[in-house]
């Protein structure tokens, strides 16, 4: 089955690089380094859903340590000061920012949901009737971080 990839891993990389440069690595010394390891384990994840002219999900996943480090960066705190609410809020915001940028590349008439945050591995969430169309898998200071796009299968295609 051929699937039109509207947002490629390179596109995701470009968006994520902007997030890192704006909030997590303004000096460009601590980037997210792509490894392509789709099987790397994650411990927490956040997602936004897109509906309308395109249906699917954008999932941001990472280790707990990477999530705490991201929260510290976003909130200008030390990692020790970061609480669970800080982690969930920042994970949601990461999914929201990348999801919003993704939406801009999709056909007109898409809607972005508010984010959902799950403090469990990405494998804990299933996306029925959806398949992954692209993903960025990498490490940030040695910790796993990934951003993946899942496209829902059109109902008529499943029949």
């Amino acid at each position: 089955m051929s699937v039109e990839v509207l947002v490629s891993a390179d596109d995701l990389t470009e968006m994520v690089d902007q997030v890192w440069l704006s909030y997590l690595d303004p000096e460009g010394i601590d980037p997210l380094v792509a490894t392509g390891d789709e099987k790397q384990p994650t411990e927490v994840h956040a997602m936004v859903s897109i509906t309308g002219s395109w249906h699917g999900h954008l999932v941001y996943a990472s280790s707990t340590a990477a999530a705490r480090k991201a929260a510290a960066g976003f909130l200008a705190m030390t990692v020790d000061e970061v609480g669970e609410e800080d982690v969930t809020d920042v994970l949601g915001e990461l999914a929201n920012i990348v999801g919003g940028n993704v939406k801009a590349m999709l056909p007109d008439g898409c809607f972005l949901s508010l984010p959902t945050v799950i403090m469990a591995p990405e494998s804990a969430s299933h996306h029925p009737s959806a398949h992954r169309i692209s993903g960025l898998y990498g490490q940030w200071a040695g910790e796993p971080v990934s951003i993946s796009m899942w496209q829902s299968v059109k109902p008529e295609a499943g029949k």
Binding site: A71, E93, N96, I97, G100, A104, L114
Partner: protein, 120 residues
């Protein structure tokens, strides 16, 4: 001047606040709203000089807040800081009377460029 920051994300309200400070606008009074309804209510109650609003918020979207304000004759300077940026959204924002459209992620330089003409 008084600035209202409307975003359902506490993190993003904090980042907007910090970026305003980094861009040299840290001396203004800041008021926060955590959803669209609160943004509308506080804009009416607090009469800010500028509203910096998210687009996608619970209760009411940012553009719905702007439309309600304009329909009520309120001409506060109002614009968007949002992760979503499509031509149709920008057109809707402009048609509703938005003064600016900043896409997340943003930098202090971008804030300076947009807000210097407004805040002086």
């Amino acid at each position: 001047m008084k600035i209202l920051i409307a975003d359902d994300s506490r993190v993003m309200r904090q980042i907007v606040t910090r970026t305003l400070r980094q861009a040299g606008f840290g001396d203004h009074d800041l008021v926060e709203a955590a959803d669209g309804q609160e943004a509308l209510d506080k804009t009416i109650a607090e009469s800010p000089d500028l509203v910096i609003s998210d687009w996608n918020m619970p209760e009411m979207t940012g553009v719905e807040v702007l439309r309600k304000l304009r329909a009520a004759g309120n001409d506060v300077k109002f614009g968007f800081v949002t992760s979503e940026c499509t031509p149709e959204m920008m057109q809707a924002a402009e048609a509703a009377g938005s003064a600016f459209f900043i896409v997340k992620p943003f930098t202090a330089d971008r804030f300076d460029e947009v807000f210097s003409p407004i805040l002086g």
